[in-house]
């Protein structure tokens, strides 16, 4: 089970001070936060991708390249990479480069973006969002898996004998997740390829995501990648913690009440009841998130949103101390209890490499056995074989 954080990368005014960080400060803060993720013992840092203010991560692999150099262990990921409006050729090359820089500590989450105008900004049509995601991703997979690609599609210039460069590290493409808030097409796509499926799980009630993940698991099995409970599931989450529950509520309330997404709407109490947002003591967060497997089945990755709504850097770092020091160790224990042995971990570069070595070895054994068998042929059957 992997634990980590995902950032939207918003620049938001701190409602308690009225101060808005500069873009420069926010970018530097995110780099600090990512290094803290490794320091406190979490496993994954993922950044969003946006091309409009008030967001800063328009160039995710630049951010992740820096973080790769400053860390040794954590997996660098995205939440999400815009498979609709970015050229799949550039995605293939950017993330293959990042694999080499980070020695394979990379995976990618595909998504379709959260703002309509991003499509025309990149010369695309929002009404083609799903077809773009399907076609572009299909090309991306081929660019990573085939040395030379001949390709023709609806949305991009054809390619003849194109070789994306550099090749993926050890010829193992980054593992891919597909993120979706509501589209069954994306669950189907993830299931078809046997890729991971990530449910944002922070802005809507969990019941909605339970349905979507059940669909993904069923289709994963249908396409022959394993049983439904072996599908690779990731979940988002959101928490704010202090030692005393009431302190957490009091401190977080002004941030909640003014947050860009849900501010000026429901009360903190209603929203925490209706969505996985948990504001309280570390134990409350442990209890809430330990229960997620009852709703979604045993899953592979849990990412928390911690740096948003204008929370100052110092507070975010304190939250990470609590997450890494108290919450995640307890959750690791909870999730390991009674986890069936046939439920896999999320694939990593190392595990995919080992898997390929094992399958190569099995293949070599099989051909060895086959040639041994051919030696056992009686002259008659050998003749018949001729």
């Amino acid at each position: 089970m992997q634990f980590g954080i995902f950032t939207v990368g918003d620049v938001t005014t701190n409602p308690t001070t009225g101060r808005t960080p500069t873009e420069h400060e926010r970018i530097k803060d995110i780099l600090t936060i990512a290094q803290k993720v490794e320091e406190v013992g979490l496993d994954v840092f993922a950044t969003g991708e946006h091309h409009n203010p008030p967001f800063i991560p328009s160039s995710p692999t630049t951010l992740l390249g820096y973080i790769a150099a400053r860390t040794e262990r954590i997996i660098l990921s995205t939440s999400t990479t815009l498979i609709t409006t970015s050229d799949p050729v550039k995605i293939a090359e950017d993330f293959a480069t990042l694999q080499h820089i980070s020695d394979g500590r990379v995976d990618v989450m595909m998504g379709r973006g959260n703002t309509g105008p991003v499509y025309p900004w990149f010369g695309k049509d929002i009404r083609q969002g799903i077809p773009l995601a399907l076609e572009n991703y299909n090309l991306l997979r081929r660019l990573w898996r085939e040395e030379f690609v001949d390709w023709e599609g609806q949305f991009r210039t054809p390619l003849q004998g194109f070789q994306s460069t550099p090749r993926p590290l050890d010829d193992i493409p980054p593992f891919v997740w597909h993120g979706s808030i509501r589209s069954p097409e994306i669950a189907e796509q993830a299931a078809y390829y046997g890729d991971g499926f990530f449910a944002n799980n922070i802005f809507w009630p969990k019941e909605h995501y339970m349905q979507l993940i059940r669909l993904y698991r069923q289709r994963f099995e249908h396409y022959g990648h394993g049983t439904a409970d072996q599908a690779i599931v990731g979940l988002g989450g959101q928490a704010f913690m202090r030692k005393n529950s009431q302190d957490a509520v009091n401190e977080f309330r002004p941030y909640f009440d003014n947050a860009p997404v849900y501010g000026h709407g429901p009360s903190l109490e209603d929203f925490t009841a209706q969505t996985p947002l948990t504001v309280g003591s570390p134990q409350q967060v442990i209890d809430r998130y330990a229960s997620m497997r009852e709703y979604f089945g045993d899953y592979q990755r849990q990412l928390f949103l911690v740096d948003h709504a204008g929370l100052p850097l110092s507070t975010v770092l304190e939250q990470l101390d609590i997450l890494g020091g108290e919450v995640v160790p307890a959750l690791r224990k909870e999730f390991a209890t009674n986890r069936p042995a046939h439920v896999p971990d999320a694939p990593t570069h190392a595990s995919l490499l080992a898997q390929r070595a094992a399958s190569d070895a099995a293949h070599a054994d099989a051909s060895h056995v086959a040639s041994a068998e051919s030696n056992d042929l009686t002259p008659e059957t050998a003749q018949a074989g001729n």
């Binding site: 076609e135 991703y137 599609g153 609806q154």
Partner: protein
């Protein structure tokens, strides 16, 4: 005995409200009509005022509270709908429109609807046809030809040369009852994840 589900929406704000009064009268008339055809009717009356905050929150968040979700399911899963709003500033009230704004755009396809509205004077009555009816047309609901407007005076003697309110109510309710009797909407099972038959997970259109 056959049963049908009828949802009744009132966007009246005061309590008691003439909008609710009209909604109730329309519902009673429809139920009576359907009873004559041996159809039992389960009526769910929804006062949008009761979920006004939930509707606003849904606009902000993109998902309904459990309370609002129950209301949405009653409306979208009905065999027929009676929708009544006060006319404010030349059109339906903002609350009425907001409720329909949060529904899935496919949720009311083929829904038989009887439109009703209330206002201070009958001068506002055309709002039914230039504002309310196009909205239901956009949603592909089936609005019956007669819509019922009740001005303050209608609750008394009515205007000169106009059929009495009760006559208009019976006419609209009869038109609705006929469609509700034939509707099987409440028995349909919906698959929220159904994909187009043309869907292909690798992308369409010759990409290769």
């Amino acid at each position: 005995m056959t049963t049908r589900k009828l949802a009744v929406i009132s966007a009246g704000l005061s309590q008691p409200s003439s909008t609710r009064l009209l909604a109730d009268r329309l519902a009673e008339a429809a139920v009576e009509r359907l009873k004559m055809q041996d159809i039992e009717v389960q009526v769910d009356v929804i006062e949008l005022r009761d979920v006004a905050q939930d509707v606003t929150n849904n606009l902000l968040l993109g998902f309904p509270s459990p309370k609002l979700n129950a209301v949405i399911e009653k409306v979208t899963g009905a065999d027929g709908l009676i929708a009544v709003t006060p006319i404010f500033t030349t059109s339906y009230s903002g609350l009425f429109k907001s409720f329909f704004d949060i529904l899935d755009t496919q949720a009311l396809v083929a829904m038989p609807v009887l439109l009703g509205a209330t206002g201070g004077t009958e001068r506002h009555s055309l709002a039914l046809d230039y504002a309310m009816r196009p909205m239901f047309t956009y949603l592909h609901a089936v609005a019956v030809p007669t819509s019922v407007f009740a001005a303050s005076a209608d609750w008394g003697s009515g205007g000169a040369g106009v059929k009495a309110l009760s006559d208009r109510i019976v006419r609209g309710a009869s038109e609705l009852a006929e469609l509700v009797a034939a509707s099987d909407r409440s028995g349909l099972v919906r698959d929220p994840f159904a994909l187009d038959s043309s869907f292909s997970p690798v992308g369409g259109f010759g990409a290769q």
